[in-house]
Structures are given as structure tokens and as C-alpha cells.
């Protein structure tokens, strides 16, 4: 039948069952909203956490020296493996999959002073590679430690934003002199604020970073605290790990199978794991929302059964003038889908308004920094439309099958 007629039938039915249909449409809308908002929060959480995770750095690995556990070539176990700056160059030359690498030294409890403000804080000696590897992004009008600082062992410092705030308050820091362990350093840069979910030596925002070469000279250190490297290709992280064992095993004379000789934190693998956990959370949220929608689907099925009962005669008439069973089936299925999507589209619009409204609300909160704000991605839209379609079809199918299976003679006799 043409669309106008289907529409007319639908309107007539709607008038007859106004309350029931309205309630069901509301239930469907509610189900849609709950599933969409939950998925939107899940998506927001996912994005925020992944972004926070990136605060540590993207595609990086952190390498520490360990202690041998397997006797090797006549040497006993329990030998410490410790790296120097030369080892960084050595690794860079021998492990081709590494794109950036830098050593790092730490001094906890360094005395950092500007005028009368004195802090006891963490000072690291690092290379300029940290800008990209470890997201040490300078604020506008400032810079990160550079190659020349390294060569000339300049006494320059790059401040974490919290350290800057504690030392300078609102005052501009770049170009000023701070004293680290009573040695004057010029501030060249302040780190742009970032969320950092994970760390291995404290959060970057409260650290001060100086050139590694300067660090070595001032504190007379030889051994690195750790080495940070970044891979060309994230899928190569495992390869790099293997290469590190064999290359360093040859140099330091330990068994490449000796796992405790090195300690490696593969941040990429951690990200993947986290991403999977978050996907799990999202699926869970989706299922909760989906259940609400399924309950609404029962309402649709109920309406369709009543409607079919009331229209038995109409079905008989159509069959008498030549309607195939398939037509009857499709007609009722379409009506169930109209009701379902009527509620669904309403729910989608309201969810959109809700999440957009929430996203634009000017609230500053640590919770939001951690949780993120709800985001409606195209994937969520597609998921919800598919679920709505499935609910509509399932809710309509059984009543429609029943309608199509009635005998024309009996339905014509039906009063």
C-alpha cells in the first residue's frame, strides 16, 4: 500500500491508542536517552583517560638497569647493570627501531629558591628529546631545553607548571634566575599544563628539568637513573625490548634471557590494556542502557498485539483482495519501526542536547579532569540506531508474524 495509506492507518491507530502509544514512545525515548548518555559518558571517560595517559608520553618505553639473576660466562649472579650517557648513544646506534632516546638523572629533595620562596623538589637532568617523548611542551613564549644547552652545559631550567606557580605565583618566570642547591639557573621555559595519569618518578608538573650534561657536571654523577626511548612504530615495542636485551647483554655480559638484568616499562602495552578495559566499561554501560530499551520494546510488542487484534478484519479484507502474507508482515513491522524510531529519534535529540549542554557547562573540577565530559561519537549514534532497529524488528516481528498467519476466512468473520 502506498505511504499515505500506511500513514493514515498509523494516525488512526494512534488516536485509538493515544495513551498507550504515548507512554511507549516515552519509554523508548527514555531508553534511548539512557543508552546514549551512558555511552557518551563512557566515551568521554575513554577519551579523557587516554589523553591523561598520554601525559606521560606516547609510544614510549622506560628502561632501568637491573641485577643479573643468571650466572653468565663465569660471572656470578647479582651483578648490577648501570647505564651511563655513553650507553644511550650505544643503544641509539644499535637498535634501529628507536626514534628518540635520552638518559635521565634524578635528584629528589633539591633546594629550589626564588627570592624568599624555597621549595624542596625533584630536579631531573634530561635531554631535549623529552619535549616530544615525554610531552614536556613549553608554554607560549618559552622553550624547552635544547641541543645547545646540552653542548654548553648551560645552567638553564625548564619548570613544571606547578613548580613555577609555587615559586613565582602570577609573576612571569622566563628569564628570571632561580637557585637550585644555591647554584643560579636561568628559567627558559615553563611546561604547559597537562594531565598525567601515570608516572615513574613523580608528576612532571612539580619537577624542574635541567640539561643532563649540566646535571652530570654539577652533581658529579656518572650513572643514569633511567633511559627513556620512543619507537618509530608502536607495533615494534616488543621487538625493541628483545633487541635491548641482546644488544645490552653483549655489552654488559649478561644472558639475554636474564629478565631481571633490565627492567622495562612498555607504556604502549599499558595503553592498549587500558583501552581494552575502557572498551569493556563502555560495553557494560551500553548493555545497561540497552536493557532499558528492551523493556520499552516489550511495550511496542504489546501495542502491536492489541492493534493487530483490533485490525483482524482489515487484515482479512486485504487478504481477500490479494495481499500476500509477506505484505501483512511488512506492514506491521513498519508500524512497529515507526513507533520505535519515533521514540528513538526523540531520545537521540534529547541526549544530544543534554550531552552538548553538559560539555559546554563552564565547570572546573578535578573530577571532570579525570572523568572527562560526555561525548557523542558517530559510533554511538550508529550503535543506538542499530539497537533501536533491532528492538523495533523483534518487537514487531512476532505480532506481525501472527497477523500474517491468520486465516483470511477467520479474520473476515472477526467482529
Amino acid at each position: 500500500m502506498n505511504l499515505t495509506t500506511i500513514y493514515n492507518v498509523f494516525i488512526r491507530d494512534f488516536r485509538k491508542q493515544k495513551k498507550r502509544i504515548t507512554l511507549t514512545v516515552i519509554a523508548l525515548g527514555w531508553g534511548t536517552i539512557s543508552i546514549m548518555v551512558m555511552l557518551a559518558f563512557g566515551e568521554g571517560l575513554h577519551r579523557q583517560l587516554m589523553q591523561n595517559k598520554r601525559g606521560l608520553g606516547e609510544g614510549i618505553g622506560i628502561l632501568w638497569g637491573g641485577q643479573t639473576q643468571i650466572p653468565y660466562k663465569g660471572m656470578g649472579k647479582g651483578r648490577p647493570i648501570r647505564f651511563t650517557s655513553e650507553d644511550v648513544e650505544f643503544i641509539e646506534q644499535r637498535v634501529p627501531n628507536i626514534s628518540l632516546i635520552s638518559g635521565e638523572m634524578h635528584r629528589w629533595g633539591a633546594r629550589v629558591r626564588y627570592k624568599d620562596n624555597v621549595l624542596s623538589e625533584h630536579i631531573t637532568g634530561i635531554g631535549p628529546e623529552f619535549e616530544h617523548m615525554r610531552a614536556h611542551i613549553p608554554e607560549r613564549g618559552s622553550r624547552m631545553i635544547n641541543e645547545l644547552d646540552m653542548q654548553l652545559r648551560r645552567r638553564v631550567v625548564f619548570l613544571g607548571d606547578e613548580m613555577k606557580a609555587n615559586l613565582f605565583g602570577e609573576e612571569d618566570a622566563v628569564g628570571k634566575t632561580v637557585f637550585i642547591d644555591e647554584i643560579p639557573f636561568t628559567v627558559v621555559g615553563v611546561m604547559k599544563h597537562k594531565m598525567q595519569m601515570s608516572n615513574y618518578s613523580g608528576h612532571d608538573l612539580s619537577k624542574g628539568s635541567i640539561p643532563l650534561t649540566t646535571f652530570e657536571a654539577i652533581y658529579g654523577r656518572r650513572y643514569l637513573g633511567n633511559i627513556v626511548y620512543q619507537a618509530h612504530d608502536l607495533d615494534r615495542m616488543a621487538d625493541i625490548e628483545k633487541q635491548l636485551y641482546s644488544v645490552l647483554g653483549a655489552k654488559f655480559q649478561f644472558d639475554p634471557e636474564d629478565e631481571s638484568a633490565l627492567s622495562i616499562w612498555d607504556v604502549v602495552a599499558g595503553m592498549k590494556e587500558m583501552s581494552n578495559i575502557l572498551l569493556g566499561i563502555q560495553i557494560f554501560l551500553g548493555i545497561i542502557g540497552g536493557l532499558t530499551l528492551i523493556i520499552a520494546g516489550v511495550g511496542v510488542a504489546n501495542i502491536m498485539y492489541v492493534s493487530i487484534k483490533e485490525r483482524t478484519r482489515e487484515i482479512g479484507i486485504k487478504m481477500a483482495v490479494g495481499a500476500r502474507r509477506g505484505y501483512i508482515l511488512v506492514q506491521f513491522l513498519l508500524e512497529a519501526l515507526i513507533i520505535t524510531f519515533g521514540g528513538g529519534i526523540g531520545g537521540i535529540l534529547i541526549s544530544y542536547v543534554l550531552t552538548e549542554g553538559f560539555r559546554r557547562m563552564p565547570i572546573e573540577s578535578d573530577v571532570l579532569d579525570f572523568m572527562g565530559r560526555p561525548v557523542l561519537s558517530p559510533e554511538i549514534g550508529v550503535t543506538v540506531v542499530i539497537i533501536l532497529g533491532a528492538v523495533g524488528i523483534v518487537a514487531g516481528l512476532f505480532p506481525a508474524m501472527r497477523a500474517a498467519s491468520v486465516s483470511p476466512v477467520e479474520s473476515l468473520r472477526y467482529e
Binding site: A320, R324, Y327
Partner: protein, 229 residues
């Protein structure tokens, strides 16, 4: 001898509800030739309507053979039966059986839609049909806005939509006053004159008299006192 459009041999219909059987038709023989006007008469419960439903492919017999245009109907699928109802047979019911929410135009259009007649042709055909039954001016009226006679004329127009060979009418004047009933009968006679085969169930003797042949039923059997070809 003219071609048998309808051929029935020992057609039986048994209804079953749980353990209880009811034989509505117990072995009916019937032949209808092309272009005949036949009246089926008999007391209530004699099986007239069941016969009509089987003849019209709304139902299938549980025994015997029914051939429509030399094709055995017993074994056809429900889609094939639907197509036969759509194109070969036109139904006219006592209770009109129009779609209550649709206009006269839309009601006549329904079989054309199932036959997938294109939009323009469909419009022409509906206009032509409603003009033929004298309702050109009531096209936009719904059944509730029409008299019984008018509703039955819409039903006849609908029955004629796909130019079926056979018109089956189940007491078409049963719900009408004598005047509009007369007009309907006249319409059937015109259809007969134009070459349609018509089988009509009726209680009305005056109508039965106008038929070329009367088939009498009694208790699900041919009433042999009557005329049987």
C-alpha cells in the same frame, strides 16, 4: 460446450476444533461455465459460505478436487492463492468489507496496489471503475459517509479492479433495502452481460430467479431436488 471456469468434484471441508469435527461440506460437485450467472441457495448452515470461500481461494478444501481454470487449487501456496484472489476473482460480501479508514478511492485502489499497477494507470482505473458503478462524485468519501447501497457499489468496483473473470458475491443484497438491493442486482446483470462469470449466494428468491442456473445446497451436499448440471 463452453469452458468450465470452476470445476469441483466431491469437494469436502472439515473443520476441527480439538477432538471435535465438523463437516461443513461433505462432497460437493459443481461446474461453472465461462460467462454463467449462477445463484447458490440453501438454508443457513448448508455450507454456502464455506463453498464460496473455497471457490474464492480464501480457504482450501480438505478433500476432493477443485480446479480453477483447469488448475488444481488444492495444493497451491498461500502466495499463489493470494495472487489468484487478486487477479482472477472479485469478491463482494454481504457486510461490504471496506477498509473503514480509507476513502472510496483508496478502497478501490487496494487490489491495484497489490497487483503493482503503476501510479498513473492506477488513477485512471480507479476513476473508471467508480464512474462505472455511478460513484464518480463520492470518490473522497469514507464508508461512514456513504449509504449501504453506495458502500456495496464501492465493493463491486473494488472486485472489478483487476478485471477478474469471476465475481463471487456472498449475499450482496442481504444488508440492503429493496431499492438499493435492486440497483445492485441490476449492476450484476450488467456485469454478466459484459461476459463475467458470476456466482452469487442469495436468500432472495426474486434474485435467484434471474440466474441462469440455481445450485441448491443442503447439509453440505448438493440438494438433488434442485437443478444440477
Amino acid at each position: 460446450m463452453a469452458h468450465n471456469v470452476i470445476y469441483m468434484k466431491q469437494v469436502k471441508k472439515r473443520y476441527q476444533t480439538g477432538q471435535v469435527f465438523f463437516d461443513a461440506l461433505r462432497g460437493i460437485d459443481l461446474r461453472v461455465e465461462q460467462g454463467e450467472l449462477i445463484a447458490v441457495v440453501g438454508p443457513s448452515g448448508s455450507g454456502k459460505s464455506t463453498l464460496m470461500n473455497i471457490m474464492g481461494c480464501l480457504d482450501v478444501p480438505t478433500g476432493g478436487v477443485y480446479k480453477l481454470d483447469d488448475k488444481v487449487v488444492n495444493t497451491l501456496t498461500s502466495n499463489q492463492l493470494a495472487d489468484i484472489r487478486n487477479k482472477k476473482i472479485g469478491f463482494v460480501f454481504q457486510a461490504f468489507n471496506l477498509l473503514p479508514y480509507a476513502t472510496a478511492y483508496e478502497n478501490v485502489e487496494v487490489p491495484l496496489l497489490f497487483a503493482r499497477v503503476s501510479g498513473k494507470k492506477r488513477r485512471e482505473r480507479v476513476h473508471e471503475l467508480l464512474a462505472r458503478v455511478g460513484l464518480a462524485d463520492k470518490m473522497a468519501n469514507k464508508p461512514t459517509e456513504m449509504s449501504g447501497g453506495e458502500m456495496q457499489r464501492v465493493a463491486i468496483a473494488r472486485a472489478l479492479a483487476n478485471e477478474p473473470d469471476i465475481i463471487l458475491a456472498d449475499e450482496p443484497t442481504g444488508n440492503l433495502d429493496s431499492k438499493s438491493g435492486g440497483a445492485i442486482v441490476k449492476l450484476f446483470e450488467e456485469l454478466h452481460d459484459s461476459g463475467k462469470t458470476i456466482v452469487m449466494i442469495t436468500h432472495d428468491k426474486s434474485i435467484a430467479e434471474r440466474a441462469q442456473r440455481v445450485v441448491r445446497l443442503k447439509d453440505g451436499l448438493n440438494d438433488t431436488n434442485g437443478d444440477l448440471s
